[in-house]
């Protein structure tokens, strides 16, 4: 029986080529999209799942709040470690680490031999008790308990000492941070599984405690210092989460240094959440993006299944004779359903094979937005199970309804090929129409969303930011660079022929990072505090960026002079710019005088409002060199020359040279990513819907050839016939448009709310999307109706 069904399935696939191609292409797109999304989602959820008792591992995070805004931080004050250890009975173990972020690694002979590494952390011995590492040499009980000990992973051992046995590495000396000696006390295997614990070198935290310079940076004694690098990890006893939270609240109450303005709250964040909040890999996954992707995958799959249902149920009559015969030969309805489901399954299997090939193209298209370490393992057990489940789901989603219709035919009517025609309401017909409407609604909604997002992105890219960001480059100096070197670099760059001017500053004028502080000013004899964004720079800064000065002058090298922007005027309660000149402000306990007011310029992404800004001269925190090129400068040669200048000063760690406009574009990366994903979803939705309509129109119009021929004989022109046939489809698109408009409008409105500076909801793109869908639909329908309308009526009527 199985063989018989299989044979029929294959013969039908061959015989009805167009139908089969449409089904396989449509479903394979659905399969490919779902397959890639499934893999991406399970990849993102796979991080650090493998540790023993991973559900008992948490880290202490801190939320600082001023009542208006919350500042969450994955770090916690250092003294909380010992406090938790002594006072929380729900806690089994506490480990503390301090991520060095970037640190120089070398040997005694050459302190900079291995350059700067970003995978080095200070850790105490408890770290290895909480996280499972496989020890290749040394042991976890004694390693890291003393100062100047380092535990390396295999990769680091190989990098530093070449191919030696792990045991041979024990006792070898390395120099970190140019001067501190460490001796290898253990070697562990690298994690094979996905992990955000990217560390390869573990320096004993004891070293930091006993070294005054480092311990100051760690703020070992300070309860009010929170640094994201300094993290406290706890392992709870089983099922003690609620108790742990209570005990942590007690510690918070006891030690948390709250004042009138600021409150600090400690929380426990489970290990499974680290990958989605803040982690050491600097790439956290976004759950809402993953959820959105899953929704898109489901949409595409459903649209593909709809094609199947529509075309199969429309063509059911072609198979009715077979159903009748089989029933007279003794087939039960169940057996027929099984047969038709099996035929569907053969098509699904073909679709899966093509889908897997397509998914490779999908991966390439999304290469720039997929995580670096993401790859597809087609034959992994998870994927095989997923594909099996998906195929069964698609089977029932798409195959069951047509199979029910087919197997339900009464044999005698089926054999006589009588249409079970009832005047008035026809459920199948209605379902088919509704499904087409649903498909085109989705396509239209996708088109509207993509066009609207595109409009907003081009608005963001092209909006006047208030200063000139063209031909500006910037360099962030290395972590341990001295001011001397920065000055030298700035001067060397200034002497290049392509460079118009240079400036040192705490950051570029427009930047993703922000430095906020508060200034005090006098109102009615009392000092009032106002929050401001602060930038420190040399005196070339504002001129380099061509920031328009409203009144007054630029600040001089006198550190008590500052320039403020228009927003600061409002914040300080000054009505006219001219009134601001000479105004006294207290900043960092020093007196400052406002010497100039600049126009409001955008120093942050357009998601945010322009904040009060304070710019002044200083020598602290000058990490950025800004470069303005001459008009018409040759970019390639200019960049070459700048690179050479950088190389002559920084031989080991070479800072990157970036174009400001590219940096600004980077602010809108997530929007560009969204556009790319939605663009893809749109193309897929349109492709599948168009394919389905093509198949369905081809079939339904071919069913109407007799009617068309009679009308032609009665005098209808080809054009009239095309209008007659197409009208029905145009109405469907109209309904689809109406259904798509509101959800699309809601989505766009909601999305645009994330921006302070945005376009109005672009109603034009609604019309455009409707027109695109209509043209697409009419092209497909006209193609078939033209063929039907131009056929020779004499021949068709004779055949009938």
């Amino acid at each position: 029986m199985f063989k018989n069904h299989f044979k029929i399935a294959l013969r039908n696939i061959r015989k009805q080529g167009l139908r089969s191609v449409i089904h396989v292409i449509g479903l394979s797109i659905g399969v490919a999209v779902c397959f890639v999304i499934y893999n991406l989602v399970s990849f993102e959820y796979s991080f650090d799942k493998f540790h023993k008792d991973s559900d008992q591992i948490y880290r202490v995070t801190t939320v600082t709040s001023n009542g208006v805004e919350d500042w969450p931080n994955p770090g916690a004050p250092f003294p909380i470690g010992p406090a938790i250890s002594n006072e929380m009975s729900a806690v089994n173990n506490v480990a503390q680490i301090f991520d060095t972020y970037r640190i120089m690694v070398g040997t005694f002979a050459d302190e900079q031999k291995f350059g700067v590494k970003q995978t080095v952390t200070y850790a105490d011995q408890h770290y290895f008790e909480i996280f499972d590492y496989k020890w290749l040499a040394g042991n976890k009980e004694s390693s890291l308990s003393e100062a100047n000990e380092v535990v390396l992973t295999e990769t680091s051992v190989k990098q530093y000492f070449g191919a030696i046995e792990p045991e041979e590495a024990i006792g070898k000396e390395l120099i970190y941070a140019d001067s501190i000696p460490f001796y290898v006390s253990g070697v562990v295997a690298d994690f094979q599984e996905n992990s955000d614990l990217k560390f390869t070198d573990f320096l004993s935290l004891q070293t930091a405690k006993s070294n005054k310079d480092i311990s100051i940076r760690l703020n070992i004694e300070e309860w009010n210092s929170v640094n994201s690098s300094s993290q406290t990890i706890v392992k709870l006893h089983q099922n003690q989460e609620a108790k742990a939270e209570k005990e942590l609240a007690v510690i918070d109450e006891k030690y948390g240094e709250d004042d009138e303005e600021w409150t600090t709250t400690f929380n426990l964040e489970p290990l499974s959440e680290w990958h989605f909040s803040s982690n050491f890999n600097y790439r956290s996954a976004d759950k809402s993006v993953l959820n959105g992707l899953m929704l898109i995958g489901l949409f595409i799959l459903v649209i593909a299944c709809i094609n199947f249902i529509n075309l199969e149920s429309a063509q059911a009559r072609l198979r009715s004779k077979e159903v009748g015969i089989r029933k007279t030969l003794g087939s039960s309805r169940k057996q027929l359903i099984i047969q038709f489901l099996m035929e569907t399954y053969v098509i699904i299997l073909l679709a899966i094979i093509f889908g897997l090939i397509l998914s490779q193209f999908g991966i390439r298209y999304f290469a720039d937005i997929l995580p670096n370490t993401f790859e597809l393992d087609y034959l992994s057990m998870e994927n095989l199970i997923f594909l099996l489940s998906l195929s069964v789901m698609v089977l029932f989603l798409s195959g069951l309804y047509p199979a029910m219709i087919l197997s339900g035919y009464t044999p005698i009517k089926a054999l006589n090929n009588k249409k079970e025609f009832k005047p008035g309401f026809n459920l199948q017909y209605l379902i088919r129409k509704n499904l087409i409407i649903l498909q085109f609604s989705s396509s239209i909604a996708f088109i509207i969303a993509v066009l609207a997002i595109n409009n907003q992105i081009s608005f963001l890219m092209n909006k006047d930011v208030g200063f000139n960001k063209e031909a500006v480059l910037h360099i962030s100096t290395p972590f341990q660079s001295t001011l001397d070197n920065t000055v030298k670099l700035k001067n060397n760059l200034a002497s290049l022929s392509d460079v118009k001017s240079t400036s040192m500053s705490s950051g570029t004028l427009v930047s993703n990072s922000i430095w906020t502080s508060s200034v005090e000013h006098e109102v009615n004899g009392e000092l009032v505090e106002v929050g401001v964004q602060t930038k420190v720079a040399d005196t070339n800064y504002l001129a380099l960026y061509e920031v328009p000065l409203l009144v007054g002058r630029n600040y001089s090298t006198d550190e008590s002079e500052v320039v403020i922007n228009e927003s600061a005027l409002t914040a300080l309660g000054i009505s006219s710019p001219i009134d601001a000149l000479g105004k006294h402000l207290v900043y960092d306990e020093k007196d400052m005088t406002v010497v100039g007011v600049i126009k409001n310029v955008h120093t942050r992404s357009l998601h945010e409002e322009i904040r009060p800004l304070l710019v002044g001269n200083g020598i602290r925190n000058l990490f950025t060199v800004n470069i303005k090129l001459n008009k018409g400068a040759n970019l390639a040669s200019a960049v070459d020359a700048i690179q050479n200048a950088v190389k002559s000063i920084y031989s080991v760690e070479r800072p990157e040279i970036k174009f400001l406009d590219e940096t600004v574009e980077g602010f809108y990366q997530s929007e560009v990513r969204l556009r790319k994903i939605l663009f893809f979803a749109t193309i897929m939705a349109i492709l599948i819907s168009a394919l389905g309509l093509f198949g369905l129109a081809s079939f339904t119009i071919s069913q109407r050839t007799k009617e068309i021929s009679i009308r032609k004989v009665l005098g209808a022109s080809v054009a009239e016939l095309i209008v007659l046939i197409s009208k029905e489809y145009a109405i469907l698109i109209g309904i689809a448009f109406l259904l798509a408009a509101y959800p699309a409008w809601y989505f766009i409105k909601d999305w645009l709310n994330g921006f302070q500076y945005k376009i109005e909801v672009p109603y034009g793109v609604f019309i455009l999307a409707g027109i695109i869908a209509l043209i697409l639909c009419m092209t497909i329908v006209s193609f078939h109706s033209l063929r039907a309308a131009s056929s020779n009526p004499a021949k068709i009527l004779k055949d009938e």
Binding site: M1, K7, E322, I325, R326, K327, L329, G330, T410, L415
Partner: protein, 230 residues
């Protein structure tokens, strides 16, 4: 064996009820060869379809032996089709996607006959009908007569106790008709009950009993051989 009592078949539309069959009382014994005749629209095919459980009667009782078949579930109907009935149609009704061999084999598949037994049964019948050379052809590659032979082979391979034939030779020329009718006669001699619907007097001669229908009612029921002699 077959006993129909007061069988009606009606179609209802909004304002009226139209009788296709009205008050049919009929008994057919095991091993009979019956022909149902009558003008177009008399209800011949409907009667045959009701006997073959392809259609339901609107009223009356249908007994097959001791079993009441008046209203059966689809599942029971499928079972009866498997166990008792073979059908031969005017339009042959072969499955176009299957070869001659596969078409003949299909009823055995629904009867869960083992593969080896299936093979020998199909081989035997192909041999008997002289179609061994054509077993791998598709219906479209055969003449009408050949298709009908396949149709008959398929109808009888499951050894049905009753063979129902609706205008079995309607699409065939006379030589082919003769071949089919002789085959029917042989099957009947071997014990198969045959009920056929036909317009052809020649075909009717092969049967032993003729039932004439008119406007949904039996108007004559007689022994054809006796009638010939009379």
């Amino acid at each position: 064996m077959i006993k129909l009592t007061d069988i009606d078949k009606t179609i209802s539309s909004k304002f009226q009820k139209e009788f296709i069959l009205k008050g049919i009382n009929l008994e057919i014994e095991e091993g009979e060869f019956v022909t149902i005749m009558g003008p177009s629209g008399a209800g011949k095919s409907t009667l045959l379809n009701i006997i073959g459980l392809l259609d339901d009667a609107s009223a009356g009782q249908y007994l097959l032996g001791e079993e009441d078949l008046t209203s059966l579930s689809d599942k029971r109907k499928a079972k009866m089709h498997k166990e008792h009935f073979g059908f031969v149609f005017q339009a042959y009704h072969l499955i176009d996607e299957l070869t001659v061999y596969e078409n003949i084999e299909t009823p055995l598949l629904y009867r869960n006959v083992k593969s080896s037994e299936r093979k020998s049964l199909v081989a035997e019948i192909l041999d008997r009908f002289g179609m061994v050379a054509k077993k791998d052809l598709f219906p479209a590659q055969l003449s009408g007569g050949q298709q009908q032979l396949v149709g008959v082979a398929r109808a009888i391979i499951g050894k049905p106790s009753i063979l129902l034939a609706d205008e079995p030779t309607g699409n065939l020329h006379s030589a082919q008709s003769k071949e089919i009718m002789e085959l029917f006669q042989k099957l009947n001699d071997e014990g198969t009950t045959i009920i056929q619907v036909t317009h052809s007097e020649d075909n009717a001669k092969y049967s032993k009993r003729i039932i004439e229908l008119e406007d949904g009612a039996i108007v004559k029921d007689y022994n054809s051989q006796e009638a010939q002699h009379a």
